[in-house]
């Protein structure tokens, strides 16, 4: 029996409810482990995906729980996956990407750590406003 690993993207269509966060995390974790990421790197990718979806729920959709979020997990590299690409699409409020930046984390206060976590943990983080509305976030993590 071959030890098969995912080659094609996995797509998740979720609602903007925090109740779906554990489902998304489970999928990201499984994908990372199957393509050979170590537990530490897997944890950072899972955390980044969680922070990305949390930001969409809170800021793009203002905590409305019935809005669409589409997530695509793609193993990169052939024949052996060397990276994972996570695309997260929402149709909520747009923000100028130049305004999306990590705050000074030396200022100890609640909130505002999501972007810092994503940029710290992932190799590439890119926010693109979409013509049809909403934003496409693309994150890449290499092994």
């Amino acid at each position: 029996m071959k030890n098969l690993v995912p080659q094609k993207p996995v797509k998740l269509s979720l609602c903007s409810s925090p109740a779906y966060l554990p489902i998304m995390r489970a999928a990201v974790e499984k994908m990372c482990l199957m393509i050979g990421f170590d537990p530490d790197t897997t944890g950072k990718v899972v955390l980044s995906a969680d922070e990305a979806m949390t930001n969409v729920i809170r800021h793009a959709y203002d905590d409305e729980e019935d809005k669409p979020i589409e997530i695509e997990l793609t193993p990169l590299g052939n024949p052996k996956a060397e990276a994972i690409k996570i695309c997260l699409r929402d149709w909520g409020k747009q923000v100028d990407p130049s305004q999306i930046k990590s705050r000074d984390i030396r200022d100890v206060r609640p909130g505002g750590l999501g972007v810092h976590i994503m940029t710290e943990c992932m190799d590439q983080v890119d926010f693109q406003p979409c013509n049809e509305g909403g934003t496409l976030l693309t994150m890449i993590k290499r092994r």
């Binding site: 925090p18 922070e51 984390i105 100890v108 909130g111 999501g114």
Partner: protein, 145 residues
Amino acid sequence: MFCLCLPRRSAAKTGRYKQLTYYKKGSVAMSNDSGSSPVQGVRWKDRVAIVDVVGDIDLNKSLDFQKSLLEVLEQRPQQIIVNLSEVPYMDSSGVASLVKLLSRTRKSGSQLCLVGLSPRVKSLFEITRLDVVFTIHASEKEAIA
């Protein structure tokens, strides 16, 4: 699984029976009864409150988590020990709840420390550089000593 370990004699001396009754009526326990708070119980050792937390803490749980923690602080403990040994995962919303508690404990003169961080939770504190802001111990015994 809610328990209080306040000795009867010291409770009588310090007038903490009122608090004991208050706890039995609800407060932290009520948050747990609703099934939404990851705080499963508070154990008291004199004026030290040991908060037992269970399960993942994300946006779905963080508000209830924060509410339960601040309810513990209202009991005016000298020290709060948040035991995270049963928390496999936490995101920045959970951290925000703890930062809020830290800020309140500093204002009230209480001490806060975290114990039993899993590798992933520890990593989150390192990524956010909060590992140098919070007092973190490996065990409750170490935190109380």
